[in-house]
């Protein structure tokens, strides 16, 4: 039990964090927001999955991907293909030249469903594909790059290029993908109308629960050897390698994990918003996703949620109130965060927490000690590594 407490819930601070987020997502927001705003929050939270993936990859693994939109998009498209096929039954599409295929295929003179669409008639296949396809793509890319020790800026540039390639590829093959318009007009999930208020409530709570579940799973993974390895790699990669560990395997793992998380986010996005298009795949959304993680604090799992929520709500509220000026306000927000709080919101919270615990010097075993845990861990690991070097 104690092990569960420290590993999954990450001790007292972790449990406190979890409690705050859970109250916010499950009680406070549903109680105070109407369904329109709540649905928006649900949409923002789907990006939270990508941010969480970026915390793993960038914050913990030290590798910055500028192409997470690729995996978000892959997950989203897998889900959307299933929904589109369900929405394109021969009766509702009888006005088309070829009834029974998605409308955009008909507009592009296709007369039969392309082979790669056929498996997406099955919901289980589509749900598995939502996770497996992004993971597989990340695995191939990861092996190709990390085994060759491509990292840092080069990795960022390559992932960005892949985001561009995928969005152009979707754009250019509109008969197969819906092109620039994307896959739109999605209505039912196995007969369940996803556009109703009730469905939006249910999807919101599914999104929140899955997100928190992923955070707990991440904490469990990070509290073990995995976490120590990643921390060591991020700070001194060559030492870890010289100690005999396969650094690339860990990087590939984090990259795949981040991709899988993004894919889940993409699928949930499609369910809540009702469409997907290449504008969620390309360079701009991919970089926006990095900003979410940066604002939240790139090393903080919970920060990912707050960052995503704050940036996206800012985007919605600023643009509603100041349609002409809102981009400047958003730009100002980013600059302010990066300049004033380089560790994001999580960094601000840590500072405040430290100040409070410094004031309460009488209880030295409290929060401040836990905050130092990371550096202690690093110390543990680098000590033997140092010895090895000698």
């Amino acid at each position: 039990m104690n092990k569960v407490y420290t590993r999954i819930f990450a001790g007292r601070v972790g449990t406190l964090n979890l409690a705050v987020v859970a109250v916010l997502l499950f009680a406070l927001l549903p109680a105070t927001l109407d369904i329109f705003r709540l649905n928006l929050v649900g949409k923002y939270l789907t990006f939270g999955f990508v941010s969480l993936g970026l915390v793993w990859l960038w914050g913990k693994g030290g590798v910055l991907s500028l192409g997470q939109g690729v995996f978000f998009g892959l997950g989203g498209y897998c889900m959307a293909m299933f929904l589109k096929l369900e929405a394109s039954d021969p009766i509702t599409t009888k006005i088309q030249s070829t009834p029974g295929i998605p409308d955009f295929m008909d507009w592009n003179q296709m007369t039969a469903l392309p082979a790669f669409w056929i498996p997406f008639k099955s919901l289980p296949f589509s749900l598995i594909a939502v996770v497996v396809l992004p993971t597989l793509v990340a695995f191939i890319l990861g092996v190709a790059m990390f085994k060759r020790r491509v990292g840092g800026v080069y990795f960022g540039v390559i992932t960005q290029a892949i985001a561009l390639i995928l969005s152009l590829g979707i754009d250019g093959n509109q008969g197969y993908t819906g092109g620039r318009n994307g896959i739109t007009d999605l209505k039912f999930l196995h007969g369940w109308d996803i556009r109703t208020q009730h469905a939006q409530y249910v999807l919101y709570f599914i999104t929140c629960s899955l997100l928190l579940l992923m955070i707990l799973a991440s904490q469990w993974l990070l509290s073990g050897k995995m976490g120590k390895m990643l921390l060591a790699m991020r700070d001194r990669e060559d030492r870890v390698r010289f100690s005999g560990y396969d650094v690339s395997a860990f990087k590939i793992f984090t990259f795949c994990l981040a991709a899988a998380l993004s894919g889940i986010g993409g699928a949930l996005f499609v369910l809540q918003v009702g469409f997907i298009s290449p504008s969620l795949v390309g360079i701009v959304p991919s970089i926006e996703m990095v900003i979410f993680a940066a604002v939240g604090g790139k090393t903080s799992l919970y920060g990912a949620i707050y960052g995503t929520l704050i940036v996206n709500s800012g985007k919605s509220l600023f643009s509603e109130s100041f349609p002409q000026l809102w981009l400047f306000l958003m730009g100002g927000l980013f600059i302010a965060v990066v300049v004033l709080f380089p560790n994001g919101i999580a960094g601000i919270c840590d500072t405040i927490r430290k100040k409070i615990s410094n004031r309460k010097k009488t209880a030295p075993s409290s929060v401040a000690g836990k905050d130092k845990r990371e550096s202690v861990m690093l110390g543990e690991l680098s000590a033997p590594a140092l010895k090895g070097e000698k």
Binding site: D34, F36, N39, L40, K43, I95, S97, D103, F104, W107, N108, Q109, L168, D171, G172, Q174, G179, R180, N181, G182, T184, D185, L186, K187, R195, V273, G274, F275, S277, S279, L280, S316, S319, E320, P323, Q324, W326, L327
Partner: protein, 418 residues
């Protein structure tokens, strides 16, 4: 005429009038008779829209920022001008129009979010907005689900018809067929080279053009090429054009690509004295960027040109310039955007109600005599009857109108062209 119970503002007004004698009372009632009092709010608004005793709120949803802002600004301005003019005339059913402006930011998910906000939160009576097909496709399910009304200004590919949308621009056949007929007849054209940007509108337009060229005009398409949006290198294309020597270059290139396309054509010596070019994607707005000198002598097929010579347009152009500056230009879509609020006003007045269902039902058959493009009528399929006009571009960036077709019936699902 008994003022309605809920009219808190009007009741004391009438009480005071009682003391001022019968004559004054009659006079004041007569003055109100054409106003809101004839249309009590609970009668004209049975679905909870943002309609009060003296205002009605509508939404405007275009891209004020992002790559599409440059194109959509004209529509934003024209719609606001129309609403201002309607308000100056006393509004709709005696109610002044208030606008809630939302920015779609050239981003389709944002369009969907804002459309939902306008319909669900703000309960707007109608929305004027969208420009690209992608943005319209993104908001369409929202409008159908929440039962809103969208006035969409852009000429587009057709293949769509919705109870919840009034398409004030041309669908593809209205823009393409008459223009091709004209160029085939005037220039004796037999061979065509089709060039477009790579997305649904140019692709569908090229498909319709090809069918018409091959089946009706008995001509041939000697080349058909599509380039990604934003493409700027047309060197190899220009070589192919020089090789094939088509009678007509048919261009459906959009946005920023236009500037490089026409400049490179000119640099390569493909100019109007030697070649014929017909486009359906260049309006006065694009010419502003391309430069009249790079385009002079080429043709555009549109339903509206700023230079149109009719009394409606003679009033519209100065009003637009007075509000937005003497250097502003008015393109086809800008004019179509201007029609939106007027068509909505006419539909509301015909229906005697702001309810979306009633407006949708009342819209077919509505006529506008005051449209800058001339006479306009709404078809049962929620598109407009419109003319095709051929304009030849001049050095000053204005078009000389050479040809005008009769009114063409909108046909978003053209048989034989699919």
């Amino acid at each position: 005429m008994i003022p309605h119970k809920n009219k808190s503002k009007k009741v004391p007004y009438f009480r005071r009038r009682k003391f001022l004698g019968a004559l004054l009372a009659v006079a004041s009632l007569a003055a109100l008779s054409s106003g809101a009092a004839d249309y009590p709010t609970d009668k004209v608004n049975t679905t909870g829209l943002a309609v009060t005793d003296d205002t009605v709120t509508v939404g405007q949803l275009h891209s004020a920022t992002g790559t599409m802002a440059i194109s959509e600004t004209g529509s934003i301005q024209a719609e606001q001008l129309a609403i201002e003019q309607i308000n100056a005339m006393g509004g709709v059913l005696g109610r002044k129009i208030k606008i809630i402006v939302e920015d779609g930011a050239s981003d389709w998910p944002t369009f969907a979010e804002k459309a939902k906000k306008l319909l669900v939160k703000d309960k707007v009576a109608s929305v004027f907005g969208c420009w690209t097909s992608a943005s319209r496709k993104a908001v369409l399910p929202v409008f159908e689900k929440e039962n809103g009304m969208l006035y969409y200004p852009t000429f587009y590919e057709g293949l769509e018809q919705s109870k919840n949308v009034i398409y004030t621009g041309q669908e593809a056949t209205q823009q393409i067929l008459a223009g091709l007929d004209w160029i085939a007849k005037e220039k004796g054209a037999k061979t065509f080279y089709l060039i477009g940007s790579d997305y649904i509108w140019p692709r569908t337009s090229a498909k319709i053009a090809r069918k018409h060229i091959e089946n009706v005009l008995k001509g041939t398409v000697v080349g058909e090429e599509f380039y990604a949006l934003g493409h700027t290198q047309f060197g190899s294309l220009i070589n192919k054009i020089k090789l094939k020597k088509p009678d007509v270059i048919y261009a459906i290139v959009v946005g920023g690509s236009n500037v490089s396309f026409y400049k490179q054509l000119k640099a390569a010596g493909i100019t109007s004295d030697k070649s014929v070019l017909l486009t359906i994607s260049v309006t006065e707005d694009e010419v502003l960027g391309i430069g009249g000198e790079n385009l002079a002598g080429f043709y555009s097929a549109m339903k509206y040109f700023q230079s149109l010579d009719n009394p409606n347009n003679k009033a519209f152009v100065p009003a637009f310039k007075a509000k937005y500056g003497a250097n502003s230009v008015i393109g086809d879509v800008t004019q179509a955007g201007y029609l939106g609020p007027w068509l909505w006003k006419a539909a509301v007045e015909k229906a005697g109600s702001f309810d979306v269902d009633k407006i949708a039902a009342a819209s077919p058959g509505i006529e506008l005599d005051k449209a800058p493009e001339g006479y306009v009528k709404v078809h049962e399929n929620h598109h407009l009857w419109s003319k095709t006009r051929i304009g030849q571009w001049q050095l000053d960036g204005q078009a000389k109108v050479l040809y005008e077709s009769g009114l063409i019936e909108p046909n978003p699902f053209p048989k034989g062209y699919q």
